[in-house]
């Protein structure tokens, strides 16, 4: 398997060129400069109407040069990775600000490290027909499951990102990151009642995993969920206890707390978690972690987009706030130690402190007991997307599949449920946490673009949460 050892001699641009560009960047008195280079191959294949619909491949190729003058950030990008192009872009950055005499950069020394992640065939090496076979099989399994299926869309997105980072402190590093995600959506028409449902699979890695994954189960799960929704009534409205399932249910923590713990929000004093380190901010059953080190994990890294080794960061331990999510500038602004969390979608964005694989750790409760304890409430089995205002902590997210809990039993399905709340309030109301931790894939959008980030949790009981359904 590949890559194993990331050797210190692989690079996109030679170090002597980067040294010249860094010297140019530091020529007007910046106290730090770095260059992020990227050469990324992307492929998107999709099927529709039981036949290949779309095939796009492409290359991103560019560099972002960043300068710090104290707490000021200067950022420029270029597609010209020649010596002339990089030096010109670095001078454009330097000349935007007069910070005094030029400063020296340290000689670049490339670091070697063992990659935590292993990859198989690179996306451009694998035959496109093989990829379409996976997608076609999903279509066939979905249509075989029910004659009510009217349409199946399935797609495979792959990305292979080569990055190189050099900075004025003498660090130089190279890494490779592969991502593969297969998604499907099925549409059904059950005697005039139309619905749809989606499923996905994937990991940080390459696509050979789909030979092992039961694509039949994936397709059938989507069809069954869509069919179930055609018979579901609308969710009730009001405050009630909510049991949120494991896996993607973790989006509640991601939205309700995670974004507010990023120094991007903390430094702006735009977070309800400002000044709360060491304080109890959640129920004692809650321990939360942001971990960049999980092998082939969806939001994992070796080094972050600032060249710092990524870490496993305990954010909340038994309800007490232990750490923020900290990048280089966040560390300068807040004084907290870097957590290896500087991330960006591509060289087109300056990095920011961002989540990696963020989850609530396993607890001691059982799912069955959780349900048994609820007289009337909602079991949110499959979460949809959500959003948060970090300044106020107000969050909202959609529930794709939900059931009424009545007298300690899971009963009829309901649709159209939406959960809304406020971060800190909700953390205090997580009263039970099960033993069964699961992680799931998501794409997280914020100031530095859209990045792969995993969310996760065991099943949890929130003693009271606003459920937006329909007024009867």
């Amino acid at each position: 398997m590949y890559p194993g050892l990331i050797k210190g001699d692989i690079m996109i641009v030679q170090s002597h060129i980067l040294s010249k560009a860094l010297d140019a960047a530091m020529s007007s008195g910046a106290d730090f400069a770095d260059i992020f280079l990227e050469d990324t191959y992307s492929s998107q294949l999709s099927i529709l109407n039981s036949r290949p619909e779309q095939a796009i491949v492409g290359q991103l190729y560019g560099a972002g040069i960043r300068l710090f003058f104290g707490h000021e950030i200067i950022y420029v990008t270029t597609n010209d990775l020649s010596e002339t192009g990089l030096v010109k872009a670095a001078l454009r950055a330097a000349q935007s600000r007069d910070g005094g005499a030029g400063k020296k950069t340290l000689p670049l020394l490339q670091v070697s490290f063992d990659s935590v992640h292993t990859y198989g065939e690179k996306p451009w090496e694998m035959n496109r027909d093989r990829k379409f076979q996976w997608l076609n099989s999903i279509d066939q399994h979905a249509r075989a499951r029910s004659s009510s299926v009217t349409q199946v869309e399935a797609g495979l997105n792959e990305k292979f990102q080569k990055i190189q980072i050099a900075n004025s402190r003498g660090l130089m590093a190279y890494d490779e990151r592969a991502y593969s995600r297969l998604r499907m959506q099925t549409f059904v028409d059950n005697n005039g009642l139309k619905e749809s449902s989606s499923e996905d699979e994937g990991h940080m890695g390459t696509s050979e995993i789909y030979d092992q994954i039961q694509l039949k189960e994936l397709a059938e799960k989507a069809v069954d969920c869509a069919m179930m929704l055609t018979t579901a009534d609308y969710a009730p409205a009001g405050e009630m206890p909510v049991v949120i399932d494991n896996g993607f249910g973790g989006v509640i923590f991601h939205e309700a707390s995670g974004h507010g713990l990023e120094t991007t929000s903390i430094a702006k004093e735009a977070s309800v978690f400002c000044g709360k380190l060491g304080q109890k901010i959640a129920h004692e059953s809650v321990t939360a972690i942001d971990d960049g080190t999980i092998e082939n994990g969806w939001g994992s890294l070796n080094i972050d987009d600032e060249g710092n080794k990524t870490q496993k960061t305990v954010l909340i331990e038994n309800g007490v706030l232990k750490s923020y999510i900290v990048d280089e500038m966040g560390s300068r602004q807040t004084g907290h130690e870097i957590t290896g969390s500087g991330r960006r979608q591509s060289y087109k964005y300056a990095p920011a402190s961002r989540m990696r694989n963020t989850y609530i750790a396993a607890g001691n409760d059982s799912f069955e007991e959780m349900i048994r304890d609820v007289d009337y409430g909602l079991y949110a089995k499959k979460m949809g997307g959500g959003s948060v205002n970090p300044g106020t902590g107000d969050f909202n997210f959609q529930v794709g599949e939900a059931y009424i809990i009545r007298n300690g039993r899971i009963e009829e399905p309901v649709k159209g449920a939406c959960l809304i709340g406020r971060g800190i309030d909700t953390l205090g109301k997580i009263t039970k946490v099960s033993k069964d931790l699961k992680l799931a894939r998501g794409m997280c959008g914020s100031v530095s673009g859209s990045i792969p980030a995993a969310v996760g949790q065991p099943q949890i009981l929130v003693s009271s949460l606003m459920v937006g359904g329909r007024a009867k």
């Binding site: 492409g58 200067i74 597609n79 749809s196 735009a270 205002n389 300044g391 939406c418 606003m466």
Partner: protein, 451 residues
């Protein structure tokens, strides 16, 4: 002949040899953005980008590839990738995907030349605007705790389309945009809100207006109460009605219709909304965000009436779906170099009515004035059914008088029912610079889930 044209000619020759047709979409842009925090410069970003997207057509099949490396070798390699993709997408249909010919948008291109300004604005003036966007918000009211998001951006973007039928069109535009979002706090209540702008010339920027309106929005929402669950008439404010138009915009696409995903299937010539609802698409509208002489296949822009007196009049098409669906060609091809060809509206214009906002709010004894869809469409809209369930905020009105701010409620329903329940439209449009130009809209009744 310029290098791009020369390189494209080589690709065209190769395509001819391969029995293929080819199109190249080339985009370029320069963006400067400046942001202040705590009255100090915080970020200064200057980005330059270019990308070429190649579309290769082999009969009924098309393949795509893109690159940011515009060298001759890279473009030829990208063409070969696109050709391989076109061969991968097997389609047995006896259909020839068309390409736009060279006749077209040159005249329109000249008419829109004013959208690009070569005026050089000194850097200190841009800095001053960016600084004031934050500072004026901080100075306006003591309840403003911070301005977490503010900034000025100057953008120049260009688009060029060449194809093997001999088409070569290009278009360049420039604009300034900015925003200021203030975090206001009073007691235990905190709210963040703000205002933005989009203008073609620097002198149109009005920082005082942006700051005043943004701060006013944040402060007016402090101390919000929850809303009692029930059905209420609602006025959706003109700045937020675009969220509703966003829900239905893809239903007008002939591609979505062909794929069986449009809820307007079989509704051409039929009523889909209240008779007060008049919707058109206008790529020439100067106060709209998307003004363009040609679409992303190079076809000359045109205005399209979509809904008249509530009756569906037209779908939006590009060349391929106009031919496939035997519908009029409306020139709404849309793509970026890194995406496949689709169909999208330009500026959607919802015709205004005659009522003032105050009159709309006094239409019923109790009215919800909805001023914010808190999560946009990110959470809560299902395109396949039209059902929505969206967190929102606003104000409760009784007999035309404001009782106070309300939050933490969810408005839900079906978007087609909402369109049919529109009773009145306001007589003022939202701020210029949106691609959806809307008045305030009164809807007879919607379901609200609150406390």
């Amino acid at each position: 002949m310029d290098t791009i044209k020369l390189n494209f000619q080589k690709i065209s020759e190769q395509a001819h040899h391969d029995g293929a047709k080819v199109e190249m979409l080339l985009t370029g842009g320069e963006n400067l953005s400046i942001g202040f925090q705590k009255r100090k410069l915080h970020s200064f970003e200057s980005t330059q980008a270019q990308m070429a997207g190649l579309r290769v057509i082999l009969g009924a099949n098309q393949g795509y590839a893109y690159t940011e490396n515009l060298s001759s070798e890279s473009l030829l390699r990208t063409y070969n990738e696109a050709l391989m993709n076109a061969k991968t997408v097997h389609n047995d249909e006896d259909f020839q995907i068309p390409l736009q010919g060279p006749s077209g948008a040159t005249q329109l291109n000249q008419e829109m030349s004013h959208l690009f300004s070569s005026e050089e604005i000194p850097m200190d003036k841009k800095m001053e605007i960016a600084r004031n966007l934050e500072a004026k918000c901080l100075d306006l009211d003591q309840r403003v705790q911070s301005v977490p998001y503010s900034g000025l951006a100057e953008t120049v973007s260009s688009k060029r389309i060449l194809n093997s039928e001999g088409l070569d069109q290009q278009f360049k535009q420039s604009y300034f945009s900015g925003y200021a979002y203030a975090l206001a706090k009073e007691g235990e209540s905190s709210k963040m809100d703000g205002e933005g702008f989009f203008v073609r010339t620097f002198k149109e920027i009005n920082v005082d207006k942006v700051a005043q309106e943004g701060v006013q929005k944040a402060i007016s929402r402090l101390g919000a109460q929850t809303l009692a669950t029930g059905n209420y008439p609602v006025v959706i404010c003109r700045e937020q009605f675009p969220t509703v138009l966003n829900m239905i915009s893809s239903y007008f696409s002939a591609k979505e219709l062909h794929e069986g995903k449009s809820l307007f299937e079989g509704k051409l010539g039929q009523s889909i909304a209240s008779e007060k609802f008049q919707l058109s698409d206008d790529p020439f509208r100067s106060d709209g965000r998307i003004v363009r002489p040609f679409d992303d296949e190079g076809a000359p822009s045109q205005k399209t009436v979509l809904v008249e007196n509530g009756v569906l009049k037209s779908f939006l098409t590009n060349l391929e779906y106009s031919k496939k669906m035997q519908m009029a060609h409306t020139a709404h091809a849309s793509r970026s170099p890194a995406s496949s060809l689709g169909i999208a509206p330009t500026n959607l214009i919802l015709a205004q009515g005659e009522k003032t906002l105050a009159e709309l709010l006094a239409s019923y004894p109790k009215v919800v004035y909805l001023t914010e869809f808190s999560g946009g469409l990110h959470a809560g809209f299902k395109e396949s059914t039209g059902d929505f369930s969206l967190p929102a905020e606003g104000f409760l009105y009784e007999n035309g008088k404001c009782l106070g701010a309300i939050d933490r409620f969810v408005i839900s329903g079906n978007v087609l029912t909402l369109l049919s329940d529109i009773e009145q439209l306001g007589n003022e449009y939202n701020q210029p610079g949106s691609s959806m130009i809307c008045p305030d809209v009164l809807v007879k009744s919607c379901s609200f889930a609150g406390a």
